[in-house]
């Protein structure tokens, strides 16, 4: 170790508290970068290998019924490289020990294992034996939720017939990485399952001999990114067989959720770490500038005796490199651990056969590079000050600062009222402008992060509240396999505990306006509907018009249409005649893209009178008859799905709000470290500059507490002012983020709770006080008699 290295080592030990704070903030930035980049790679790797193993389709086509022989026609369309017909159908599930109704989807597979499109990965047991009749392979998520294993039996209601099937195995499939029920938002593997049966069994069960009702297909590689015109062509060719929908991979629900998460990680992995690293660089900058000042004469001497500028640059830059290096190492280790935690969280919502947290050398290298780069950036100003010093000039003490008047002194009315302590605070803050700016920047960033974290939670909970306490007010929604007459209401009303029943008529359709078009559906509601209440942003109920439709804002925006204008609706049922209808009003909803119309009006539109496709109901809260209701509803014939709206809400609360507590805790801790580190750093720097001043105050009879209170006031002023700047900054970031969440499936409302305004300020106070503890310790330990004798 050269003697300069020894000097460096001792200086590092001397400034360890500040360095630890800066290294900590750097490490957090790098940890969040590495964690997110690593998770991104983990997810992409898991997705790609899963998609390859399962041969994930590029598109899905749902048809009423298509003879398999017609497939050759589709296969000839240029760009279509492979097709597989299959049968897909909704199913109801009966498990002996489960009261509430369960549902799921049944998909068919060839009876013998082949690497087909949309294949499965077995997790337990084996494939079908021979033709697979009477056998089922259950999706592992549902099986695990109910303790089902190969050899068990399960009852499924398929095509209105109760079938008892032998579970031969459990499996997962790349089509269900994010496995949600239709219309759901979060996975509920315990109430919605996926069941794989053999083609033969499905053909027999669903009366589809020699036919299918779904095609999955692959496109030639160059067409994968823009499959739309091929899907149009397929739809055109199959028109006679009743195409219900075509779905390119980008719109497949599981893929959509998985990909939004992957995309989101990419965005967050640039913004969040950059904020932390910027703060670390700014704090490092103040520390290095202080070191440059403190070492003025040392640098001058070293240069005088023959050390070159390059040697001095390298010597002092090692400070920054050390911060960057250690911050990088700690950050990478922490980031990998954090990525492990994120992988664990992802396993709850995403189902993969193989999903590991692996270290990626390029990610680690990127982490190290960023850490060192920001540290070097942060050190550059201080170090270049050192290098620029001329030895002759450096050995003279620094000329005293010009006694600039601070802005407050121009208002004598205020200035004269301030006590000596506050005047000192104001003088110090205005004299060290760069340091004050650095402190303001750090605390603004820290507070803005806290604001954003809590605001996101506010928006999420407001979304859930608006959707489930304002719009969707039913307890259950029952959908019928086939449309029923209004008399079906009476059957439902007789179920135990039912307080109110309302019919719903839904029509799938394509909305068109000029060149915009969107596949969706219209929900027909009775005029006095109280279980689904369309509302505007203010929360006022909007009456469903006698004619025309109410569009939710997202759909209206998508179609570029406003209230009072008309759109074209092409129903997928009846005689399918396109009709032009009035958009009566635009309403608000944060989930999906709904449209509402009058029950009778919608029926008439497709040539029906009073068809009912679903029933919404509310149970009497006084008679807690849910169990009895469950028992009886399962006996009702022709029911396709029973959705518990309340348990959907509870699941959302659990998954979104509770899980967010972890991230809230982390963000608050991380931001706290910024607030803490920044104040600690500026206080300790200021302490080292003002040893003589403090010693003088002690001589005059100030107690350590009184001396400390000057520092505490400085810290509080900085962090409070910073937090006031941080609130609008956080507000802006939050709004940008809410905007980014504006997707087809869900949007976030803008909502800020009072608590969200207050918490960043409280955090600023709390962490300033925490940072004051080591400062107080340093003040108590200061040898003030000696400080008075030292030449400055």
């Amino acid at each position: 170790m050269s003697v300069l290295d020894r000097k460096l080592f001792r200086e590092i030990v001397q400034t360890r508290v500040m360095l630890v704070a800066i290294v900590g903030i750097t490490a957090i930035g790098i940890a969040s970068l590495v964690a997110m980049l690593n998770s991104h790679k983990n997810l992409v790797a898991a997705r790609d290998s899963y998609y390859a193993t399962c041969r994930m389709p590029d598109f899905w086509v749902d048809i009423k019924k298509l003879p398999r022989s017609e497939l050759t026609r589709i296969a000839r369309i240029p760009g279509v490289s492979e097709l597989r017909p299959r049968i897909a159908s909704e199913a109801n599930v009966q498990l002996d020990d489960v009261e509430r109704p369960l549902s799921g989807v049944v998909l068919s597979l060839p009876a013998d294992p082949k690497p087909v499109l949309a294949n499965i990965v077995m997790t337990k047991g084996g494939y079908f034996s021979r033709d697979g009749v009477g056998e089922v392979i259950v999706h592992a998520a549902f099986a695990d939720a109910h303790g089902l294993k190969p050899g068990d039996r399960i009852q499924l209601i398929l095509n209105n017939r109760l079938q008892t099937l032998l579970i031969v195995g459990t499996a997962v499939s790349s089509e269900f990485v994010y496995q949600i029920a239709p219309g759901g938002l979060v996975p509920e593997p315990e109430s919605y399952g996926v069941f794989f049966v053999s083609d033969k069994f499905a053909e027999d069960t669903f009366d589809m001999q020699g036919a299918c009702n779904q095609i999955v297909g692959l496109l030639s590689p160059e067409l994968r990114t823009h499959p739309d015109h091929i899907l149009d062509e397929i739809e055109r060719q199959l028109d006679d067989y009743g195409v219900l929908s075509t779905t390119p991979r980008r719109e497949q629900v599981s893929h959509w959720f998985l990909n939004s998460e992957i995309q989101g990680l990419k965005v967050t992995s640039t913004i969040l770490p950059a904020m932390f690293l910027a703060v670390a660089a700014v704090i490092l900058n103040t520390l290095m500038s202080r070191i440059a000042e403190m070492q003025r004469s040392v640098v001058g001497t070293l240069k005088a005796i023959g050390y070159s500028n390059g040697a001095m640059f390298i010597h002092f830059m090692r400070f920054g490199l050390l911060v960057g290096g250690i911050g990088g190492l700690v950050g990478i280790a922490g980031g990998l651990a954090l990525a492990g935690l994120m992988t664990h969280e992802y396993r709850i919502v995403f189902t993969f056969p193989q999903f590991e947290n692996r270290p990626y050398p390029p990610v680690m290298a990127a982490g190290m590079l960023m850490s060192v780069a920001f540290a070097v950036l942060g050190s550059l100003r201080g170090v270049s000050q050192i290098v620029r010093l001329q030895p002759a000039e450096a050995m003279r003490p620094k000329p005293p600062e010009f006694g600039r008047r601070n802005p407050l002194e121009y208002w004598p009315a205020i200035w004269m009222r301030l006590g000596a302590g506050w005047r000192m605070v104001v003088r110090n803050l205005t004299r060290q402008r760069l340091r004050t700016l650095a402190g303001l920047f750090s605390s603004a960033i820290g507070c803005s992060l806290i604001f954003v974290a809590f605001q996101t939670r506010d928006s999420m909970s407001e979304m859930i509240r608006f959707q489930y306490d304002q719009i969707l007010l039913s307890d259950f929604e029952l959908t019928f396999k086939d449309d029923r007459e209004l008399t079906a209401l009476a059957d439902v009303a007789r179920l135990p505990g039912v307080d109110r029943v309302e019919p719903v008529f839904s029509v799938a359709c394509t909305f068109r306006n000029d060149h915009q078009s969107k596949e969706g559906g219209i929900t027909g509601l009775i005029p006095s509907a109280r279980l689904t209440v369309p509302r505007n942003l203010k929360g006022d109920a909007v009456e469903v018009p006698q004619s025309g439709v109410l569009l939710t804002r997202a759909l209206a925006n998508e179609l570029n249409v406003s209230a009072g204008e008309t759109i074209v609706v092409e129903p997928t049922r009846g005689d399918k005649t396109p009709c032009r209808i009035l958009v009566a009003q635009v309403v608000d909803s944060y989930l999906g893209m709904a449209a509402y119309a009058n029950f009778g009006y919608l029926n008439a539109l497709v040539g029906e009178e009073s068809a009912v496709s679903a029933v919404q109901l509310k149970l009497d809260p006084r008679t807690k008859q849910t169990q009895a209701f469950y028992r009886e509803v399962k006996r009702l014939a022709g029911i396709q799905t029973v959705t518990s709206v309340r348990s959907q809400k509870a699941k959302l609360d659990e998954l979104i709000l509770d899980k967010m507590l972890i991230s809230l805790f982390m963000v608050t801790t991380f931001s706290g470290l910024i607030l803490f580190g920044s104040i600690l750093n500026s206080s300790l720097i200021s302490l080292s500059e003002r040893r003589v001043e403090i010693a003088t105050m002690r001589v005059l009879g100030y107690t350590p507490q009184e001396v400390g209170s000057v520092f505490l006031r400085e810290g509080l002023t900085l962090n409070l002012a910073g937090s006031l700047l941080g609130l609008p900054l956080g507000y802006g970031i939050s709004q940008a983020m809410i905007g980014a969440y504006d997707t087809e499936l869900f949007r976030l409302p803008w909502d800020v709770a009072n608590r969200t305004w207050c918490l960043p300020i409280l955090a600023a106070i709390a962490f300033t006080w925490l940072a004051h503890l080591p400062v107080m310790r340093a003040i108590r330990r200061l040898d003030w008699q000696q400080a008075l004798n030292v030449k400055e």
């Binding site: 070293l302 240069k303 005088a304 005796i305 023959g306």
Partner: protein, 259 residues
């Protein structure tokens, strides 16, 4: 900030031609010809040195005396290669320091010059022996730091930090540091300025011993004219010009002088 105070009225201001009075006995180590230095600070020009002509002889103990603001520190900086003149030549042997680049000057200082400062300028985070090493590490064949400390009588305090040493001890460490590279020229800027009389005498003794025993050329710059009595030659400087250069026939030991 450069030394640029008002000239001190007590100083002789008569213009003299220094070279004519110089009776070169020993070969010269350095020659300054027509050296001027002007500092520019924004729009203000502050002339500090005017047409300085000076010879430094090999092996001599030269004392430059002048009041504050007379330009003596600037002169020392130029002689030591820390600063460059605005005009003129600064010959060190066959090299004109005025024409050297920053790197060449750094190399020159490293190999040829030792510095001793008024406030010692030790690195506070290094021990005595390490402070000597800081300079010694820069050259190929340095004096062992222990030997250097031994020469100034501080071998026993080698592992103490500057804060654990008295002012005189710190200055002796600084001298050990300066001589550890076997410099041809030892430049001392007010080496006793921060010390009491007894300690100051001791430091001057050490410098005189080094000059005598090692043959190192020593230039001491001071405002304290009492110190001039230990010199071989005395240069008086005032208002940026050399007022007078004279031999000192009655050279005294450090113990004999007082202030």
């Amino acid at each position: 900030m450069p030394d640029a105070d008002e000239p001190n009225g007590d100083e002789p201001t008569a213009s003299v031609q220094p070279f004519t009075r110089s009776s070169a006995g020993a070969p010269s180590l350095m020659r300054l010809r027509e050296v001027s230095k002007t500092y520019h600070m924004g729009d203000v020009s502050v002339p500090v040195l005017h047409h300085i002509n000076l010879e430094i002889r090999r092996g001599e103990l030269l004392v430059v005396v002048g009041p504050s603001g007379s330009g003596k520190s600037t002169l020392l900086n130029i002689v030591g290669g820390i600063d460059t003149p605005t005009s003129g030549e600064v010959w060190f042997g066959e090299r004109d320091l005025a024409k050297l680049s920053g790197e060449e000057l750094t190399r020159h200082r490293r190999l040829k010059v030792g510095f001793v400062f008024q406030f010692y300028n030790l690195v506070p985070t290094l021990t005595a022996v390490e402070n000597v090493l800081v300079a010694a590490e820069l050259t190929d064949k340095p004096m062992s730091p222990t030997d250097a400390l031994d020469l100034v009588g501080l071998e026993h305090r080698r592992d103490h930090f500057p804060s654990q040493l008295s002012g005189g001890e710190q200055q002796r460490v600084a001298i050990a540091r300066a001589i550890s590279t076997h410099p041809q020229l030892l430049l001392c800027d007010e080496p006793t300025g921060a010390l009491d009389l007894a300690t100051g005498r001791m430091i001057l003794g050490v410098l005189a011993d080094l000059n005598r025993d090692l043959g190192t050329t020593v230039v001491i710059i001071t405002h304290n004219s009492a110190i001039a009595r230990i010199a071989d030659r005395i240069v008086r400087i005032g208002s940026g010009t050399i007022a007078d250069i004279r031999e000192n026939p009655r050279k005294q030991t450090s113990a004999e002088i007082s202030w």
